[in-house]
């Protein structure tokens, strides 16, 4: 048996093997353990299925205040008989000695027992002995109970008990709950004398420990990054702080566009970019804006520093600098929006964006890459809808069917960079771009409905998710 027993358990088992049914009190006596130790031991044995516990209740009787008085001095009717044994007495005289309720009870019971004669005269009633008073069953019962508490079932004269119970405070009934402990069959065969030195309780619960781990969101980011790499994309990185030039102007967002306002974008106080782009790049971008949007493009606006609102600024800068003929590139990282934080909006979240540049690359190829990407994530029911992004044309969004939510949800977007974006920067091949927010996908994975959970750093969640 692999079960290791505590000394308390051993003593209780020992005792029960000798006498099979015992109350905790009896066990306490037989094992010389304290009652608390016995109770604890019984509970352990019960959980291990070594002991059966039967709860029973038992009624005992003992003497009340008047009963104890009667044991010493006799019942009131007995006292009365003592008073009048030498001759009749008037009620007045008797009442002096047997005051209050005792007097009435004494007269009534003596009469009932047929012990006395009562004569009514002009000067009041007198009482005299009629018959020699023998010991009554009630008196016998009082002597039997004495100063003990005895089980009600042991009292033979139930009628006497009934009479005494009807009289106030002579006999008390107490209901005592008690437990009867016996051993299960398994336990009755335990040899408590066998040594178990070195053995431990292998069945007992152990303390909880939490594994150290990477952040759940990091796991999703890594998973998505791996898929991009598998699909032939190479990772580039760029700063989180960017000039407006690369975040907006290079992406054909006019300088008075609502997205560029303070209420949507985080601008950095008192800091301006000095050499954000080459003079040719600035000249060409400025020209594209003036020609297409019909306004005076301002260099100073493009120098304002922002927290990037997308990773596209990193991609476009890379393309403008490297001008690759054929490439699959992606950039992944945090982006920022000046939003009120809520269950569905964060000011800072992760975005991934991939681009494909090359000859003979078409929108259908981009859709194919999307489809494969979702397949790798285990999402197979997808469709494409047209949408709008300021710097791509045509633009599509992927709708993915979520079985748990029972509806189509919008995931990544995609499109071809507008010629108004690529031409001024000297990129002469079509650039196909796709990407989106990572938290949305992670929320589906971890079945969260509040995006803030990823950044709450609630240890209970991080340790157990």
């Amino acid at each position: 048996m692999s079960q290791v027993l505590h000394d308390i358990e051993k003593k209780i088992i020992d005792s029960l093997q000798k006498k099979s049914e015992q109350t905790p009190e009896q066990l306490s006596e037989s094992t010389e353990l304290s009652i608390d130790q016995v109770r604890r031991g019984i509970e352990w044995l019960r959980l291990k299925e070594f002991a059966n516990v039967i709860e029973s209740s038992k009624v005992t009787v003992s003497l009340g205040r008047n009963g104890i008085d009667s044991l010493k001095n006799g019942l009131p009717e007995r006292k009365l008989m003592d008073l009048i044994k030498d001759g009749s007495k008037s009620f007045e005289e008797v009442r002096k000695t047997l005051s209050g309720a005792g007097f009435n009870a004494a007269i009534a019971n003596a009469k009932k027992n047929g012990w006395v004669n009562i004569e009514k005269t002009d000067s009041g009633s007198t009482i005299s002995t009629k018959e020699k008073p023998v010991e009554t069953p009630e008196e016998k019962l009082i002597s039997l109970i004495g100063d003990k508490s005895i089980p009600e079932e042991k009292i033979e004269n139930k009628l006497a008990l009934k009479f005494l119970l009807q009289r106030p405070d002579y006999v008390l009934q107490n209901t005592e709950k008690s437990k009867i402990i016996s051993l299960t069959e398994r336990a009755s065969q335990i040899d408590t004398t066998l040594s178990d030195i070195g053995a431990i309780d292998v069945e007992a619960d152990a303390a909880l420990v939490y594994a150290a781990r990477t952040h759940p969101l990091k796991d999703t980011i890594d998973e998505i990054r791996e898929i991009f790499v598998k699909l032939g994309f190479s990772e580039i990185q760029g700063n989180l702080t960017q000039s407006s030039f690369w975040n907006f102007d290079a992406l054909f967002t006019p300088q008075d566009h609502p997205a560029r306002e303070l209420q949507d974008t985080f601008y950095i106080e008192n800091l301006k970019s000095q050499n954000q782009a080459s003079s040719t790049q600035i000249k060409q971008v400025s020209k594209s804006h003036s020609q297409n949007w019909h306004y005076d493009w301002k260099l100073s606006e493009s120098q304002k520093m922002v927290l990037r609102t997308h990773t596209t600024c990193v991609t476009i800068k890379y393309l403008a600098e490297q001008k690759p003929d054929e490439a699959r590139i992606f950039s992944l990282g945090r982006v920022f929006r000046n939003e009120k934080v809520s269950y569905k909006h964060l000011v800072e979240f992760n975005q991934i964006e991939g681009i494909v540049i090359g000859n003979n690359t078409t929108l259908r190829d981009l859709m194919g890459i999307q489809k494969e990407f979702y397949k790798q994530l285990g999402l197979t029911k997808i469709k494409f809808w047209p949408t709008f992004f300021p710097y791509t044309e045509p633009s599509l969004q992927t709708m993915v069917y979520n079985e748990k939510l029972g509806k189509w949800i919008e995931l990544f977007g995609m499109g071809i960079f507008r010629p108004e974006v690529t031409k001024p920067l000297g990129i002469d091949k079509p650039v196909l771009a796709w990407g989106g927010g990572i938290e949305r996908i992670a929320m589906l994975k971890y079945e969260l409905d509040d995006v803030r959970e990823f950044y709450n750093n609630n240890l209970n969640w991080l340790r157990t998710v």
Binding site: K218, T241, G368, W385
Partner: protein, 548 residues
């Protein structure tokens, strides 16, 4: 994204062909419209800001007619030239709000739902292409209440008239300070002494652009003829807005009569369609679908454009209100929409390149692996944090603080220059969780320098009642030795650091270069964070150490 509310029964009637509500619901997304919510026949739709022509049921019905094949090709608009109504522009507006344009919409009827739709359209146009009414703003008036000709001029701020939805005369100043429109849009005129005004021949005030119309010309369900006027600071922009209103009112059943405009820089709007020609091959190059020229023409017509083919070139005619179209690429998208996105089969071509992770990613993930191996739990904090956490509670020096402007959230106003503060905040929020608590984070930190320097830091923090300097130093050494074989030294710092316990902190050096700090966190700081257990931690700069 702007939102439009529409009623399916009304849409179905406007589409005016054989269709069903279900078909309409199914086709809406393929116009690029997202159904935000549906409640019986009432639906809320998000439309793209580049398509203000979708700001009403009328415009959406126009698009639906095309994709459903009920009416195809360009929406032909006739503007009768015989009109005698004019607006004369006074040169005083030149420096304030130089342009005005307009048209007369005749012989129509509007019910209260129609008027509601037109009001929503106006609001959307004002917020979007009108740039909150600065660039352009629209006024719709009951033309029968007006004596032509009109004058677009300026007036002083004590000029009086009864504004829309009012019953008493107010001065310009009162309108700007007391009406909702005045309070919301008065900023557009904040730098001028005089303000623009449109007066009729009897000197009645018609409109005070871009703030409010006169009550005199209120459009009601009894209105038959409408004066549309648009003022603004950019001629193209005001004509853009006018073209949307005309297209919308035409769907609502109006006819048009020219409004002659004359005066400094202004002219009667032509609202002509334009043509873009390009090689038919371009479409298949972009979409990856072989398509006949006639099919392309058919697709464009489904998008309410016109096109002809001539010598392998496709010539596309674009109505004035489609100013979202810049060039051939936009037309390729139109062809894709006409063709049906659902008919484009995704195609997986093998990659000619081999994918690769960035070096920074690779090296950082090695650090992460070791950290987890050492029993540390990874946390993520925002790089945009608060002054309280970053500097005040930690008593760190805030002289080089980098702030963002006008954050909507108090908790996100400062770019972090350290990760440790965030980790202390994490401990603070988890004091009811079981100990030991051992956390780490890798992430970008910011500092000033041409204009901002970004680098990647690693910070580790350990909290339990018996922790001490030796425990955290062991972790530090182990992280740098594993994988990277870097030996670091800790040297007692001469600088006074309030974050750490006196005598129990050090600078971390690798090859005589300081890379970070390590120590036991001072009780006072722990009190600030309500942490009641000992805490030790370090932070090092990984940039320049394990990658550039």
């Amino acid at each position: 994204m702007p939102v439009v509310e529409l009623n399916l029964n009304r849409i179905k009637k406007l589409v005016s062909g054989s269709t069903t509500k279900k078909k309409i619901i199914d086709v809406l997304p393929f116009l690029g419209l997202d159904i935000e919510s549906q409640n019986g026949d009432e639906i809320r739709i998000e439309y793209s800001p580049n398509r203000p022509d979708y700001s009403t049921e009328f415009g959406i019905a126009l698009g639906l007619q095309g994709l459903l094949g009920i009416k195809k090709g360009i929406q032909k608009t006739t503007i009768k030239k015989k009109g005698q109504s004019t607006i004369k522009v006074d040169s005083s507006v030149t420096k304030i709000r130089p342009y005005v344009t307009g048209v007369l919409a005749k012989n129509g009827t509007l019910d209260s739902d129609d008027i509601q739709q037109l009001m929503w359209m106006q609001e959307d146009l004002h917020d979007g292409i009108g740039r909150k009414r600065k660039k352009s703003s629209i006024g719709l008036h009951d033309a029968d209440k007006i004596s032509f000709p009109l004058t677009y001029t300026t007036t002083s701020r004590d000029h009086k008239f009864v504004p829309l939805n009012n019953n008493a005369e107010q001065t310009i100043n009162e309108i700007l300070s007391k009406t909702e429109q005045g309070q919301n849009y008065g900023w557009v005129l904040e730098n001028t002494k005089n303000v623009p005004i449109i007066l009729d021949s009897e000197k009645n005030t018609i409109s005070f652009p871009p703030i409010i119309n006169s009550v005199l010309t209120t459009v009601t369900t009894k209105t038959k003829n409408i004066l549309v006027e648009v003022t603004g600071i950019d001629k193209d922009s005001v004509e853009d807005a006018l073209s949307i209103v005309i297209s919308t009112l035409q769907m609502a059943g109006f006819e048009f009569e020219e409004l002659k405009i004359s005066g400094n820089k202004n002219s009667t709007p032509q609202l002509k369609s334009r043509a873009i020609s390009y090689d038919t091959k371009f479409t298949s190059q972009i979409l990856g679908v072989e398509m006949s020229s006639s099919n392309m023409v058919a697709c464009l017509k489904k998008c309410r454009l016109d096109a002809t083919i001539n010598n392998k070139k496709i010539k596309c005619i674009i109505p004035r209100y489609r100013f979202d179209i810049f060039g051939p690429m936009d037309l390729v998208e139109e062809i894709a929409l006409g063709y049906g996105i659902e008919n484009l089969e995704p195609k997986l071509s093998p990659s000619k390149t081999i994918g690769k992770k960035n070096n920074v990613t690779i090296k950082t993930s090695l650090i992460t692996k070791t950290a987890v191996g050492l029993g540390l739990l990874e946390v993520f904090n925002s790089s945009l944090t608060s002054k309280k956490i970053l500097y005040e509670l930690t008593k760190r020096n805030s002289s080089e603080m980098i702030s963002v402007l006008d954050s909507k959230s108090q908790e996100h106003t400062i770019l972090r220059d350290s990760l440790l503060s965030g980790l202390l905040e994490n401990l603070s929020k988890n004091i009811h969780e079981s100990y030991p608590q051992k956390l780490f984070e890798t992430g970008v930190v910011f500092s000033k320098g041409k204009p901002i320097r970004e680098s990647i830091n690693l910070a580790v923090i350990i909290s339990h009642k018996d922790t001490n300097f030796s425990e955290i130093k062991s972790i530090l050494q182990s992280i740098l030795r594993t994988q990277f074989k870097i030996d670091c030294k800790t040297k007692a710092s001469s600088q006074n650091q309030e974050l750490f316990v006196k005598g129990k902190y050090a600078d971390i050096y690798v090859d005589d270069k300081k890379i970070g700090e390590i120590g036991e966190i001072c009780t006072e700081i722990l009190d600030n964070f309500r942490i009641r257990t000992s805490v030790v931690g370090f932070e090092i700069n990984l940039s320049g150490l394990i990658f550039e």
